[in-house]
Every structure is written in structure tokens, then in C-alpha cells.
Symmetry: C6
Subunit: 264 residues, 6 copies
């Protein structure tokens, strides 16, 4: 199931999109292909055509495979669903994951794994192309990483600062004025402790991501080679390629596609 | 009596809900069962069906029993009314307490006991499953804990900072701009003292909660086992199970259900 | 005269209330009793019935008598007019004072006496019941204490910070934005000096309040006993009871009720 | 001339008031008396009747004579026009001064003299009645003192901080938002330097005011005695009384009433 | 040309003013005199009559001549166009300068010269009359000085802080909210560095201005004497008087009035 | 292609402008010349006539050639398209660059090169004319430099502060209130680290720019001489002149005009 966060209205919208797509393709009925393409389109925007070959395309490929490898090798991460170089919206490439069964009850280990996975793209850029060649393409990864790491510290009590909600509930609010207010109740000292703790989480996760990249360079080069050729890899194709080089943690395999290996 | 904070309008609404429920159940009159179910529904949202068995359900069970044990073993806490694994609203499980007679006049000891009880869920997660397995499910407990501990320090004069209202009355106000204003009259030094004091309260309470969990592990395992089986335990069933392992402070027993043991 | 802060409109309203009350009581004319009851109702909200006996009621009684004793024994305080356990509005008990002749020209000594009196309730809770039993019932006393002590420092030049208005006149304004502005002109250092000075005033006053309670415990126990029995004591009844145990400073006696002892 | 800051419209209004007053007094034409009374009424509110005798009235008398003496003995201050115990608006007594010829071009020395004069009331309270008896009646003096001392430092470059406008022009603006903005361009260090410098100005002025009071106690007692009797003293009457005890600086005599002594 | 910053609409307005003025003077056509008077009126407000003789008038004369001398002796400053004791708007005297050819491309040296010139008035007050006699009349000079010095540091990269725009472009904006925002991106440390650097610029300029005044006291006394007599001096008259005492830097002479000496 | 950032609507507008221009020039059809002129006009405002000869014009010429040389000699910078002394809008001269193929995916090296290029104008002013002669004309370069350097640190994770988004996504927002909010989540310490890091980037880039100017002074003098004569130089003309003095990095040549040298 790829629609865990969808409301009833979202699902109705999804079926409409799929029906239109099937019509355009001259089909009599909606197949799984139309559903999948419609989900992708709703979540990430319209698909474009791949970049022309060159250093940029290669960099994007390493970036995406970096996400996929770091995610797959960090226990607790959701499994890769597919990797693609077909751009959507602002993104030049995309790695998709299948969310676990209960997305609202997530453990400290799982959250940390997500941070490692999200930093896998930048880590690959830095290790493969060198520190001067890292790109602005990681900006949205970094925003996501920072937001999650902050939540660990300030909302979930998952750091050495302790089991304390460091932000008023309102900070989580979508109301801008309410979020501004949150500053009021915290001392400069506490703000600094939060910043230090968030940084120590992201530093630790980035070190782990760079280790995964360094320790799996041969696998990475191979997978990038195939991805540049095929432009899209399914989760199973990706895992098949990776498993030629090393063992994959059982947890992070695609439980739906490979039901016999369901999480123990 | 389970309705201490209800207004007349709330009570009318409650009776309506109970009447509808009795009608659905084909009953001629409203019984105590309908009243109880209606109170639960009004306070915590619609009841869902329990999670399927697995690690998550077990974690939720330990979390709820953690609340119940820490609350029951800390003198001054309201007695447990029931524990359930049937989710309501956002919550995956719930522990209900019977409020004391005069909820508006609460002592320092009673407030501290509430903090210990509220941290019992997270304490159980950490002791039983390990520090990496603690979950985002404790977020609302942490918010409640922080808010109460702050009130002890800033509004009730119940800390070493002394009998001083550290916030303008307006800070308690529901008006956002007024609450923002409160910052104006406090120095950074005072904000830092408040943060330190709030943290020392929550740290002390969390240590106490972890002690209760460690010292009552056998009782906990047994109660969780029964809860996973029955999905809901009444306060009396819970106390009966717990009293097989250890004595229960007289104060925290259900005074209504056991009138002969009324608080001395 | 009990109406020093009343405007003409307030007085008209007061007479209306008193007339209605006299009508309900089947009286032909308004007596002093109706006037007095109407003043109480306008100032503090509608009267309720006393709490049932128990620890809470006893705590409230000690809290109120604590106010009355600390106020009476600190020179410069307005005299007690009555003490009651009949709740009004949010308050579970009330101690009333007769304001002096010129409420707008108040000396440093008189302001400090008000702070001691306002802290008398909490001081009694702490000395009589112990530090863990102090209650949230003192919250409004603490707000009042903090606001007055701040004014001594920031508006009246009555502290070692010197004869300096530490707040823009606008800070006293009822306009929220103007009050927020006041922050602008003060350095963090000055804000910290203000906080320290306000704290030293409230600490000194709380120590004095606790001394009064400790040094007059026998009188207090006796007065509480009578108050629990009669539920309301007039200022003269209170002073008669207290004078069995110790002398009362001349200033703080009820000048109206005892004109021969009028302040020298 | 007592109307230096009056606009044409103000003058028209003044004449109207004086005409009404003359009518009420059964006069055929407006005399200087009506003009003077109308100016007082427009500037300070309606005149009331004097307080009844007692400690408060005596304190007010010393407060006003304190202003008059400190102003008269500090070179550069405008001359006293009259002292009165008849209250107006919020003020329980008033000391009036005749503004100099060019109120918009004022020197550092003249500004400092104004601060000494404004602190003379509080200084008299403290020296004559003792530190515990100082009253809230000085609040508006303190606000005026602080505002003038701040201007010396932040707008007029009249302190060791140097010839630097420490506030954006907008801070002088009557627009609240613009004034809030001024904070933006200043560091905490600069704010602290401003606060220190303002405090050192007011401390120095308060010391000078207290010296004037201590060194002229006999004159003060005499002038207060006459003031309590007559309730109002003209500037000349005041200076006549004071000159029995000591010489008066030439500058601070009333230039209009004594034209032969016009400032050299 | 005296109209470098005028728009087309401004010029039309100027001609209208000049036409009205010529009409009032009974002239058939607009002469240069009407144009010049109209420019003065538009830029600085309506002309009044000079102050009566006395210390204040003398102080204003020294203040204006201070501007003229400091400006003329600091290389890079625009040349003096005229000095007058006829007040306009708030100003009691005025010194006019002829702007250079390209006012939008101004060098660090030229900006510093403007600061020295603007501080020349206060410097003359302090050196000639003494530190206690400096007046509030310099307030607008100080605002101008501070604003220019800040721009050197924060917008033009003309200080040791380096070639860095320390303010968001929006800070230069006329939109108040945008300017408030600028604070957000700067640390307290950076704000403090800015304040220190601005102060070191103004201190250095004030020292230079005071040197010019001290070193040219005889010339100054002479020019003030003539100015008090004639009430207005043209730039050429001023330079003729000054050149009797010392050489004038070529740059700062009036390039229009003396075309053969055009800047090299 | 010179229109990488243009939307469909922008392109339509461009063609309209070009058609009008062709009409004015009496042409039957739009040529490349009209397109180019229209792009320049849309991006930079209306073209004016060059300044008259003199020191200012020479300074502007060195400033523009400073941009062109620093940009061309820093690997990764977009190639120069043309340099002109014909002013547009506020700018007294302009250096145009041809953007690379994928402006949204930019590397750390490319961003740093842009900072060096943008500082080349001020560097030339300082080296050629001396530190006192640097002008306010660099203000918009400094704003651009600061904004880019900040993004490297706070949005792209391209500094030693690490792969962390130091600003809430909202800070990038065009909504002012949202950007103000961003301040809330950062400690003073973090703000200071950001400022330090941004400064170290701009300092390093400015040192590199000054080196380029010092090491290529002869080439610069020659190119300025030609530019003053011809008023506009194409990228190829500029590169031809520069290559008489030194080799040009392959990357920074105009890839469109010289397709055989396309980036390797």
C-alpha cells in the first residue's frame, strides 16, 4: 500500500487522476500502473524528461543512489520503492520510499535513520566529486534533516536535554504568530543547548552517511551506471544490485514486494 | 462522580449522547454504561479498534501501564479509573484518572505526582525497550509535563525561585499578543533560572518514574500481559493485579469505587 | 467609608443593587447591611456557600488568617475589615481591608506592608502545613505582590536602583503595543537589575511574613478555630481575638469602627 | 509672558476661557487674574480645594518647596512663578516656572538644572521624612527626569558617549512602530552604555538636590510653614522668604517681575 | 547649478514659486535672485527674521561658521554657498553647500569630509563657549552624522569590518517593517562591531573638527563678527575673509563662482 | 541563449519590446540586435549616455573591468558577455555574463567564483585609486555578495558549520513576516557563527579579487584604455585583449560564441 497519509478526498482525487491517465493511454480500465503514476504526480509534481548526459546528470545519479544506499543500510529506515532520474517539480531526480505501517508512532532509531538517509545525497556528492563540487541541489534535504532533528530535541524528548517539550505546543502550529510566540518562554541558554544538540545529531548522522558511501563505493558506481542507462530503478532492482556487493539489513527491504521476508 | 469539570451545557450534551447511544444499542433507558462511554467519547474523541498484535501494540501497552503504575505509586495522584488499548483520536491507548474533589486548589505534592505519572509512559518505553526504541507517542505527555512544571515555577511560586509570579497575569491569557508581551518584563537571567528550575523538576520526576518502573518490573509484565489480552482494565482490576506484587498507597485508590477506604 | 475608589456611576449602581437586595429581603428601605452586601458582591463576585469541612477548608482558613495577621502586624497596612470562608468568584475565602484616606499618595513603607500582607496567606500554608502542601490558591496573591514590587522599583524610585523611572510612561499604559515598546529602551543589564531588586523586596517581605506566622502560631490556631466555626469574622472580632495574645500596632486598627483610637 | 509654547489656536482658546471666567465672576472685562487662572487650568487641569491638614499635606508642602529651592539654587533653571497646595488634576500641589526666552535652544547646563529641580521634591521627602516615607507622588517627576536625561545622552550628544545620535531620528517620532524600530540598530553594549550614562546623570543630580535640601533646611521649614498657612506663594514671595536665609543666583530670579535684574 | 536632486516636477514647482515671488516684488520677470530664494524656501522652509542680539545669537553664529570652516578645510567637501543667521523652519541659522557633480558616486574621503563639516557646529560651541554651554541645536547635525557614518560601515563597505553589506538591502528601504526585519540576520557581536566602528569614525571626525576650530580661532572670531553684522555671507565673502588668515584647499572652493579654479 | 530565467510571459514581453524597437528603427523584421537590446532593457533598465570624461568615468571603467577580470580568472564563473560604460537605471556601467546551462544546480566552487567576480569592482577601485577613493558605487555588489555568501552557509550547507539548514525554509520565503520568524529558532551563538563564517568567505574572496587585480594590472590598464575609447566591449573583444597578457581558464570563455571550446 503506497497511500498511508491519504484522506478519503485524496483517494477520490487519486482515482480521478488515474482514470484520466488511463483514458489518455487508450485503456478501458485503470491498471496499477496508472495508480502508481498518479500517486507520483500528486506527491511530487509533473514528471519531466531526464537531463542530457554530462557531469550534472552523473552528479544527480550519485546523489539519488547516495540516498538509497544510506537509507537501506541504516536499520529502521523505510525500504526504497524506486529511484529515478526523471525530474519532477524542482527535483532533478527522486528516490521514493514505502512508509512503514504506523507512521505516527516512530522510534528514535527510525528518526535517526531518516536523517542518515536524507544526508546520503550530499554525502555522495562530497565523497565522489569532492568538497568544492557539492551543489545547491541538497538544500531541501538539509531543510528536512534540520526540521526532523529539531523535533527529536524539542518535541519528542529524544536527546540528552531530556524528556522535556522545549517548545510550546503552539510552535508546532501552522499559525505564524503562534510560532513566533514560542521564543518568549525560552532563555538564550536553552536555545543554544538546542542548537548544539541538533548539530551533534546531524554531525553524527552525516559521519555515518559518509561511512556508508566510502564503504560501498564499488556498489555505488555499479548502481549509478545502471541508473544512468535505465533512468529508473525499482526498489527490488536496486536491492538486487546492492546485494551483489553486500548483505542488506532485513528490516529495510520492501515488505510488500517481498512478503516472505516480512519484518520480524 | 466522573464529571467535575462539566458545565450544565456539557451535562445536557452528555445526556443527549448517552440517549443516542442507548437507542443504537436497542435499550429502553440510559444505563451507567452509556453515560461512561459518552464521557469517554466527549473527552477523548471517537473510539477505534485496537492495533493488531506486534511490537507496537506491546510498546503502547507498556506505555499505558507505565502511566498507571507511576501514578498509583506516587502519593497525591488521582486514582486510575481505567486503562485501555482501544485508541481514541490521536492516542493509541489511554489511561484514565478520577479527578480529586477540588481540582482548583491543588498542592505542590499533587502537582509533582502528576508530572511523575505523565512521565511514566516514556519511562516504561525506555526501561523496557531501550533508549533507541522510545517513540514519538510521548510528545503530548511531554508538553503536558512541561506546561505543569512551568506553572509551578512561574505562577504558583512552588520552586526555589520563590513566591514570585514570574509572568505577568497576561501570560496566562488566551490572547496571543498579550502572551508575547510577557517577555518584555523579564531579564535573560530570569528566563534562564526558570528554564533550569523547570528542568530540575522534570529531571527529578523522570528519575522517580524510572525507579517505579525498574522496581515494579514483574508486576508490570503481568499487568501488560493481562491488558494485551483484555484490551481494557478497570482501575480496580489494575489495582488488584498490582496489589499481588506490592502495597498500594491508600490515597491513590479509587475513592468512589471503594468508599470504605476514603482518603484520611 | 468603604467606597474610596467608587465613581458616581459606581455609587448609583451600588444603590440599585442594594435596593434590589432590600426588595428581595422584604424590606421597606435599604439598611447598612444591604449596602455592605452589595459592595462585597460588586467587588468580588457572587457569594457561594462555604466548603465542607476537611483539610482544604482548614488550609483556606489558615491562608486567610495568615493575610489578616501579617497585615495587622506590619505597620502602615490598612486595617482588616472582615475575614470570611464564604467563597466569592474564584476565591475560596476572602480577607477584606479598609483603604486609608488618600489611596493615591502611598509611602514606601505602606507599599511594603501590602506586600507582607499579601504573602501572609502562602506563608501560613508553608509554616502550618509544610512546604509540599502549599497550594495553587496563592497564585493571584503572587501576581499582586510581583506587580506592586515592580512598581516600587520601576515607577516610584523606591529601591537602591535610585530615583529613576525605569519604564517609559507608556508601560503603565493600557495599550498593549505601547507596553511592548517599553522594552526597547532598556538594556539586558538594567532588566536584570530590576529583576534582582524586585526579588530582594519579595524575599524580604516573605521572610517577615513567615516570622509573623511563626511568632503568632497560638493566636493563629485560636482564630482559625473560631473562623471555622463562625465562617465570618469582623475586623473587630479578629482584633479582639488577636489582642488576647499580643498587642496590635495602633495604625492598623479599624479607624472607622474605633474612632477614639484614630491614627495619630 | 507665560505663553511661550502656545499656538494661535491655543491663545484663542485661552481668551475664551478667560472671558467665561470673567463672566462667572461678574466682571465687565478680562483682567490679568482671569488670564493667569485660565492658563493654569488649561495646562494642569481644574483646580480643587486644598487637602485637610495632616502629615500628607505637610509632605506635599515639603515636596513642592523642595522643587522650588533646588530649581532656584541651580544656575540656569527657569525662575519660580508660584507654588501652590491647591491640587489640579492628579497633582496634590504644583510649582510653576516661567520658561526662558528661547525654549528650543537649551544648553547642557540648563538641562541638568531642570533635572535637579525635578528631583527636588523627592529629595525633600527623603531628607525631611526619612527614606521609608517617600511617596508615589514623585512618579511623574521621575518620568520627566528620565526622559530628559535620556535625551541628553541619545539625542543631544551631551555625555561622555560623545557627539553621536544614538537613536534613529524616528525614535523621536510620535509613531509607535517607528519608535519600536529604533531598537534594531543598537547593540546590547550600546544600550547598556546609555543606561549607565543616564543613571550617572540622575545620580549626580539627585546628590546635588539632596545637598540643596540639607544645606537649606531652616529656610525650607520657614517657607513650608508660610505655604501651609497661605496655600499659595508667588515667585517673589518665595524668593523674599528664601533670601532671608541665603543669596539667590541672579539668573534664576523672575526676569519679568523684576525687570531691572534681567539676566546679564 | 544648485538643483542637482530636483525632479522635473520639482523644477516646475520651483519656477512657480519664483514667479509668485517676482510678482510680489513687482518685477516683470524672474531673476536669479527669485530662483535662489525659492530654492532656499523649498529646501529649508520659510525664512524668518534674525534673533535679537545676545549670547544665543552669538552661539548660533559660531555654530554656523564652525560648519563652514570645518567643511572648507577638509579636502573633498562641497564648497560653501552661503552662511546666514536668518532662521528657516526649525533652524536658527543655516550654512548652504553646493553639491558636487555626481552626488550618487561619492568616495570614502568625501563622506568623511561631510561628517567633519557636520560636526563643525558642535565643535565650535564646545571650544568657544565651553562644554556646559553646548546646546540642543546640534541635534539634527548629530542625526545626520550618525546616519552617514552607519552607511559607511553597513552599506558601502568603507570600514575595517570589510566589503560586506551588513544590512539586508531592505534596511535601506523606506518600508518600516522591512527595516525592522534587518535585525534578524545579525548577531549581537556584529551589531556591537558596527556600533564600535561607527563611534570610531565619529570620534575621529570630531577630533578633526575641534582641531580646525582651535587652529583657526582668530579667523573664526573675525568671520563671526562680520556675520553678526551682515547676517548673511556668500561663499565668496566667507572664503575671502578666511583666506586673510590661511590658505584654502583648492577642491573646496566654489567651482561655479570661480570656474578658472575648477577641480583638478 | 541569453534567456535562461525567462518565463513564457517574459518571452512574449521580450518579443513585443523587440518588435517596437525594430519599428522605431524602421526595420521590417526583428533582428538579433533588437532582441539583445530588449533583453538588456528589461533586465537592467533604460540605457543612458556615457558620463563625460574625467576621474569618475575612469573609476567606473576600472570598476567594470575589475568585475570582468576577476570573473574570467576564477574557474567556474560564467563567461563575460559584454562590458559597457553606457549607464542603465542606477548603474553607471555594467558587465554582463552569460549564465551556465543549469542555473538551479550550482556548485560551491561556482558560487565562490561569483563572489570573487562581484568583489572585483571594489577591489579594482581600492588597488588602482587607493583606499580613500573607494566609492558608494559598490553598494549593490556588496549586497549581492553578502546574500550569496549567507546562502552558502545557511541554506546550502557549504561551510564548516556543516550540512545543516540554519534557517527555517520560511526564511527563503518572500513573505516578510515569515522571514522575521526565522530568528526565533536560532541562538545568539549560532547567529554569531553564521556571521563569522560569512565574513571569512567574503574576506577570502576579496583577497583573491585583489590578487587578480594586482597580478594583472598591465592588462587592466590596457583594457580600460580601450573601453574608455569604445565605451562597450563584447566578451570576445575583452577576452582577446586579456589573452594578449595571459592565458584564460577554458571554463570561463563564452561557450556559445566559441562552441569548439565547449566545457569539458
Amino acid at each position: 500500500m503506497r497511500t498511508p497519509g491519504f484522506s478519503g478526498a485524496d483517494l477520490a482525487n487519486l482515482l480521478n487522476e488515474a482514470a484520466i491517465l488511463a483514458g489518455r493511454r487508450g485503456k478501458q480500465s485503470i491498471s496499477v500502473k496508472e495508480i502508481d503514476d498518479s500517486i507520483d504526480r500528486i506527491v511530487a509534481g509533473m514528471e519531466g524528461t531526464a537531463m542530457t548526459d554530462g557531469k550534472s546528470k552523473s552528479l544527480v545519479a550519485y546523489h539519488e543512489v547516495g540516498h538509497a544506499i544510506c537509507a537501506t543500510l541504516t536499520p529502521g529506515h523505510d525500504p526504497v520503492q524506486k529511484i529515478t532520474l526523471l525530474p519532477r517539480g524542482q527535483a532533478r531526480g527522486l528516490t521514493w520510499f514505502l512508509p512503514g505501517q504506523d507512521p505516527s508512532l516512530i522510534s528514535k532509531g527510525q528518526i535517526f535513520a531518516r536523517i542518515v538517509g536524507a544526508l546520503g545525497g550530499r554525502a555522495a556528492e562530497e565523497i565522489v566529486f569532492g568538497e568544492t563540487e557539492v551543489t545547491s541541489g541538497a538544500a531541501s534535504d538539509l531543510q528536512q534533516v534540520t526540521q526532523i532533528a529539531r523535533q527529536m530535541v524539542t518535541a519528542f524528548g529524544m536527546s540528552e536535554i531530556g524528556p522535556w517539550a522545549l517548545m510550546d505546543p503552539v510552535v508546532q502550529s501552522s499559525d505564524v504568530v503562534l510560532r513566533m510566540m514560542a521564543r518568549n518562554s525560552m532563555s538564550e541558554k536553552l536555545l543554544e543547548d538546542i542548537d548544539k544538540t541538533v548539530k551533534s545529531i546531524t554531525d553524527k548522522a552525516y559521519d555515518m552517511a559518509k561511512s556508508h558511501i566510502r564503504n560501498n563505493r564499488a556498489a555505488m558506481d555499479k548502481i549509478v551506471e545502471v541508473l544512468l542507462e535505465k533512468e529508473t530503478l525499482s526498489g527490488d532492482e536496486f536491492r538486487a544490485l546492492l546485494s551483489e556487493f553486500r548483505e542488506i539489513p532485513v528490516d529495510n527491504k520492501d515488505v510488500k514486494a517481498t512478503p516472505v521476508l516480512a519484518s520480524t
